[in-house]
Structures are given as structure tokens and as C-alpha cells.
Subunit: 243 residues, 2 copies
């Protein structure tokens, strides 16, 4: 046996030894799925179907497999449990309190997804227990799931103040009233209509269409669409205090 | 044996079985340590002292132990390797590409820390190889560490535009020139002095002191201090597009 090979062999062993003495843990993903139904912002909850905390309200979640990265795990969990795919998702934060999951030491990476509930995709949710809750009416959830939702709402709220928001949550064509409802839901307060319209117009991210939505009033309400180019450029530059 | 006990025993077994069939992984924390020396924003790098990628430039990092949460692991790693403690740290993002660490499947949670390099704490860095790099002169790093630094800089940059920044990075008393240098470092561009001063004054977060820093010019430069109350209140409300 060549010395070179022996060295290499020892090297691999000592390398493995280094990693192997470290603690291994389970990694979960939990998905905060926000849906907007043109009036209210809601979050999807399910009844957990295994112990511990069986039958309690919970976010949708699952464990990371070695064969996938976290984004892929979040997409898989969302798809298997709800049938939804091609959904906007974003990593939020990792939760790691030692006793957060009484089953076993599990670190959870929270993701949030944004869904337009008026689109057809939304029919396909597969879990019987699944229920949409208004974001200000969320019940007591298992583990630290309430904390996760709170953090996701805070991020949406902050984002709504510095970037355009709504592309993923509104139908392609929407009324000014629907856009205002979305902002009111996220910010959790009533907004003055005229003031809101003025501010939105200043942003210059909407195209006003020649069509009207006739369901809301006899006169009807003009429909708008995001101007994707302006929306994306405002997303990058933001509209905030600038030096 | 009572039936009750048997049931409970089966229940515990089936619970363990559920968790036990899932994949376990290593969890690391990597720390992006930003330091401001009153002129430039820098990041602390070290030469990795074990395989794989031994002797390559790297962020400071370590593995999560089962006995601690992620914040505690980040604080421990920072303290053991640098001697620093009581430092501002914030979780940034989790990195999970399957082959990101050739040693073993490891998911890394990146943290960033903010340090005022003019303070005394900074003398205590324990690692011989440790070196401060200007944030626009970072060398090629191991794994996805360059990506981590880029994301941390982006977050600092975004934050500088919507919130007060500098409380952790500047000495207690500082000149307007130092504050401008901090913003210039973070935003990576030169700023017009008069314009900068006007904008900062509009923010109304500084107290102007009666003291001067006499090292920078013969006339000297007035020293400022953050008004903590105003700073915190602006941090919460932000200074951005508001509805």
C-alpha cells in the first residue's frame, strides 16, 4: 500500500471524525400560507394529525430530507398537503428553542407563501381539516407557530410601507377598493379612501383599464392592473427615505 | 401490567418511530461580523483550520449543540473565537444547498454582528489568522460564505434607507463626517455633504453636543450623540412611504 493512499485514508477518517462528533438534529419547514380573498387577508391552518399535540391547530409543515434543500422542502410540503404549486414563497426565520417540539429536538425554518384566493388553484386544498383564518383571528397554535405568523405579518407590514405589494395576492385585474382592502388587512387599520388613492397614484405602478367591475355598484368600479415593469423597478428602488 | 400503561408505552413508541424515520442533519452557525472603524465598514474573516477547505478564507462558524438554541450558538461561537461578547447580533438567513459543505450534510444559519471598532472590546480577538476586510474587497471564501456576506450587506443597505442606523457601529460620540462615512460605506457610494446633513437633520435623531473632536481639523468638528428615545421611536415607525 502506498504511503499516499494511507495518508489520504487517515485524512478522510479524521475529517469524518470531526463532523461526526457534532450533534445531529431534525430540521422542519413550517409554511405560513397567506391568502387574500379580495376582502380579507387570511392564513391557512390545519389540525395536526400526529402526536404530540394531535388535533391542535397548526401551520402546515414537514421534515427536511437529505435529498433536498430547504426551499425544495417547503415547496414539497406545500404541494403534497394542499395541491398548490407555482406559489410565491420566501424564507422567513429559523426557530430553535430547545423544547419547542416535545417530540424530538427539531429546528424549524419558517416560510411564508402568498396566494390569490380568487384564482382557481385555491380549490385544490387536500386536507379535510384545512381552514382559512383571518389574520387577526388566529387561534392558539401548537409550539411557536403563533410567533411565526406574527413575524410574517410584521414582514408583510414593513414591506407594504417600502415596496409595492399585492402582485401575488390580487387577481390580475382588481379594483382600487380591493387594493385598499389588502393594505387595510395587512396594516390592520382603516385607511382614508381619497388619501389612499392619492398615495397609490403617486407611486405610479398601476395601469387603469377601460373595463369596469360591475358587481360592486350600479356605476361599477374601474379595474386596474399592475404595470409589471414599474412595479419591479419600484420594488428594487423602494419608496422610502433616500439619501 | 395495566392496559393504560401499555397504551401509553405504545403511544411513546409510535411517536418516536414517527420522528425517528426522519433524516437528521448537522446545523452550523456562521457569523458575519461587521466592524466600523470610523472610516470604513469591514468584515472579519479567518483562515479555516480544518478540512475540507483548510487554510481558505472563511466566516467564523461552528456547529449547533443540542443544549443550545441558534442565538446561543452564534453568541458562543463569536465569544470563543473572538473574545467578544454583548454584541448586537441578528439572524440573517438559512443556507441549505445539498452539497454546500463537502464534509457532511450541514445546514448553516447565518448571523450578522455589528461592532464599533473604536471601542476597547475589539482588541481581544483571539484567532491569529483573523483579518478585517473592507466590505468591497472581500476575497473568495469557502462554500457559500460570499453569498452570506452579500445578503447581509443588502440587509444593512435596505435598513439604512428606512430606519436609523449606526447605534451599534459608531462610538457614543461621533462627528457628522463619521456618520456620513458609515452611510457611504454601507451604500457603497459618495454622498453630497450638505445634502446628507440636511437629510439627517430632518430625521431628528441626533443630539448636538457642546464638545468638539479636534483631531480632524484646526477648527474641530462638533460631536453628536444618538438621542436614544427618538432613535428607537424612528426605528419602530420607520421613515418611508407611509399611508
Amino acid at each position: 500500500m502506498k504511503i499516499g493512499n494511507t495518508d489520504q485514508h487517515e485524512d478522510v477518517n479524521s475529517k469524518l471524525q470531526y463532523y461526526n462528533k457534532e450533534d445531529q438534529v431534525l430540521l422542519a419547514v413550517d409554511c405560513i400560507i397567506f391568502g387574500f380573498d379580495e376582502k380579507e387577508l387570511k392564513v391557512l391552518l390545519v389540525k395536526r394529525d400526529f402526536e404530540p399535540e394531535k388535533d391542535k391547530w397548526s401551520l402546515i409543515g414537514g421534515f427536511l430530507k437529505k435529498s433536498e434543500n430547504l426551499d425544495q422542502a417547503a415547496i414539497r410540503v406545500l404541494n403534497i398537503l394542499t395541491g398548490l404549486k407555482d406559489i410565491y414563497m420566501e424564507q422567513l426565520h429559523s426557530y430553535s428553542e430547545i423544547d419547542r417540539d416535545p417530540g424530538q429536538r427539531t429546528i424549524s425554518v419558517a416560510y411564508f407563501a402568498l396566494i390569490d384566493l380568487s384564482s382557481k388553484n385555491f380549490d385544490r386544498i387536500k386536507i379535510d381539516s384545512a381552514k382559512w383564518y383571518k389574520i387577526n383571528k388566529v387561534p392558539q397554535l401548537i409550539f411557536d407557530h403563533n410567533e411565526m405568523i406574527d413575524k410574517a405579518i410584521q414582514r408583510l407590514r414593513r414591506r407594504a410601507l417600502i415596496k409595492p405589494i399585492g402582485f401575488e395576492l390580487l387577481p390580475e385585474k382588481f379594483t382600487m377598493r380591493q387594493l385598499q382592502s389588502l393594505y387595510e388587512s395587512i396594516l390592520d387599520k382603516k385607511l382614508d379612501k381619497r388619501n389612499f388613492i392619492n398615495k397609490v397614484n403617486l407611486l405610479d405602478i398601476l395601469d387603469k383599464l377601460d373595463e369596469k367591475d360591475m358587481t360592486s355598484s350600479r356605476k361599477g368600479s374601474f379595474l386596474y392592473r399592475f404595470n409589471e415593469e414599474k412595479y419591479n423597478s419600484k420594488s428594487e428602488e423602494g419608496f422610502n427615505f433616500k439619501i
